[in-house]
């Protein structure tokens, strides 16, 4: 049987990818373009194809609720990503100590991620409610001065939401980190033991820098979660008290479904998309740059090998 020509092989691959590519182009890119088109119209309940320029965008940034939503998302993003990475990593290190019942602990830590936040968010809401949950229980034990009412406070409600969100997502980060830790060569640990380096130092100076890819993966997953944060807010506070925990995704859904203002909702989603692209562009650029560099290095090495052999 003669070997297939590369072109034909590529053609088959392309053919296999075509449905997916068509879906991405038609459904995703098409929807994005459609949203952008709607965002410069005066559509309310139904899409209208007139053109009103950037009126919706002006209105969007005049809206106190939208700017507040963006601020809340930024605050949530920073707290949530840092919280998840730190706690997830520490949990992974803890489990990596070959503790007994590792399987059970792993399941326990990962379990929150398997449950829908619509249900667990409600439990968090009750737990944090000053009249029902933690605060009243502790007060019932005799500590009358105990106060934990973050969920009803304007300035702390985002932190309360972040706690619940971190609780849910840090198990996933732990799983990723644990995989990374287990991928580290055992001989490295032995060498460190022989040199008498304390374990915390090995983690901090050797293991952590080697875990770059794990952190990268976790970061991307968490960052996506930040931009689309919706369910945790709806389940816990519905954006309240007042507007204190409003987020962009909720602004979009409210305008799309409840307030019959699909043009404004489209403008908001366009702004959100552009924000994400602006944040991701440097990262993509760095990645592309790095892989090009790697390729160059690899090529140089391949080219250098015979020469090096000759020298030997």
């Amino acid at each position: 049987m003669p070997p297939r020509r590369p072109l034909l092989r590529h053609a088959t691959a392309w053919l296999a990818l075509l449905p997916m590519a068509a879906t991405v182009l038609w459904v995703y890119v098409g929807s994005v373009l459609w949203s952008m088109r709607i965002s410069v119209s005066s559509s309310r309940t139904l899409p209208i194809s007139d053109f009103v320029g950037f009126k919706q965008y002006t209105r969007l940034f005049d809206s106190e609720r939208w700017t507040l939503s963006l601020q809340n998302m930024a605050l949530f993003g920073v707290l949530f990503v840092i919280g998840c990475l730190v706690i997830g990593f520490l949990l992974a290190v803890f489990i990596d100590q070959r503790v007994r019942g590792e399987g059970l602990l792993r399941t326990i830590f990962l379990y929150p991620y398997a449950m829908s936040f619509v249900a667990t968010g409600l439990v968090w809401q009750w737990m944090l409610n000053p009249e029902l949950g933690l605060q009243s229980t502790v007060r019932g034990w005799g500590f009358a001065g105990f106060t934990f009412d973050w969920i009803v406070r304007q300035d702390m409600v985002m932190v309360a939401i972040t706690i619940a969100a971190v609780w849910q997502a840090c198990g996933l980060v732990m799983a990723l980190m644990l995989a990374g830790l287990r991928g580290i060569d055992e001989s490295l640990w032995m060498a460190a033991r022989i040199d008498g380096i304390p374990p915390w130092r090995v983690y901090a100076s050797i293991v952590l820098p080697m875990m770059g890819p794990s952190f990268g993966t976790a970061f991307v997953l968490l960052a996506v979660g930040v931009v689309k944060v919706f369910d945790v807010v709806v389940a816990m506070t519905q954006g309240g008290p007042g507007l204190a925990s409003e987020v962009p995704a909720k602004f979009i859904i409210d305008n799309l479904l409840v307030r019959a203002n699909i043009a404004l909702a489209s403008a908001a989603s366009t702004v959100l998309l552009l924000t994400v692209l602006a944040l991701l562009a440097p990262w993509f650029y760095a990645r592309a740059h790095a892989s090009r560099r790697d390729e160059r290095v690899a090529r140089a090495l391949r080219a250098g090998e015979p020469a090096a052999g000759a020298a030997a």
């Binding site: 309310r44 309940t45 139904l46 899409p47 209105r59 005049d62 106190e64 609720r65 809401q125 409610n129 000053p130 009249e131 029902l132 009412d149 969920i151 009803v152 304007q154 816990m236 506070t237 519905q238 954006g239 309240g240 008290p241 007042g242 507007l243 204190a244 409210d254 305008n255 479904l257 409840v258 307030r259 019959a260 203002n261 404004l264």
Partner: protein, 414 residues
Amino acid sequence: MIHKTRFTRLGLALTLAFGVATFAHAQANRAEVLHWWTSGGESAAVKELANAYTQAGGTWVDSAIAGGEQARAAAVNRMVGGTPPTAAQFNTSKQFLDLIDSGLLNNVDEVAAKNNWDKILPAPILNSIKIKGHFYAVPVDIHMPAWFWYSKAAFAKAGIAAEPKTPDEFFADLDKLKAAGIVPLAFGGQPWQEKITFYAWLAHVGGPDMYMKLYRDKDAAMVQGPQFKAFLASFKRLHNYVDAGSPNRNWNDATAMVISGKAGVQIMGDWAKGEFATAHQTAGKEFGCFPGFGPKSPYLVAGDVFVFPKTTDAAQVKSQQLLATVFTSPATQVAFSNKKGSIPIRTDVDVKGLDMCAQMGVAIMKDVSRQLPTPEMLITPDLEGSLQDVITKFWNTNESVDDAAKSMAAALKN
């Protein structure tokens, strides 16, 4: 051989498909009704509508989608997509105005003329469903979104002898409840509940004139005037009487506080009756209700309607007209209202079967001067949402009355 089988199969499939289609046509007056009545009491109520339609010779196809927003979005999507249901539920409001403007709805002028809707329907509802001289929706119920529900036990404990007749008396009663160690106002701090409290308070304290100037005339100058600011301060005063756990509380949890006597009063729509009924409490016995302060208090009118998506299919049009006729007939109205907790859309019905609060409501509805449309009937969902943002911020933060008035004026101009 293989090909033959395939063709046979295709033929079978085609026969089946057409067979089903023919069968569907054979169903008399088939009507697919899209609604969001999914809770226990609600589905019992919609079953009354279905039964009445079946008895009138129709075939009811139930299409329930949980959640008003989702159901309305589904209805709009199906209309735009060209496969609309026969009838779709909306609130008595401006929610379906865009659909009328885009020519997506059929009117039911014939049914309206035959049944004299102009005479029997209350003005706020007529104004909502009759657009440019055509009837585009059939009303099925009247809900009053802002009754005052109070626990008789809590009132007795606080030494309150009679229902308050003025806002000042109401504040005095709230103080008494507070002194007795009872949560004075059972409050669910979700934006829509804050909004209901706001417009109820506006109707009762600000008065119908101020209410209409805001919601009908969108008078930005009035909003910045001293009288409206005094009203805003009065509204915010209510915040002194809620408990720390109120933010984001569900309305039925707040009702439960009144049921248990833990709280004194709740301002909530007549759907709260269902909660009292489930707890085996009777109006006038364990709990009381009053629609406002004094014998001339305004009565807010809200409710549900069905609209009829545009179709040229004569059979569908016939079904739509039959639905409109059946929904508004006196017998259906009483049976439906009893299950739903609402009051009938017409006053010429037998009220004996209704509970005390509903009977009070029907009696009040006979006095046209007391009827007041809800904001949903007067302003677009968009403006309503913007105002809601202003209200919830004012209620939950230390924002000054002046700033709140300014934000409200800005929302009105937008």
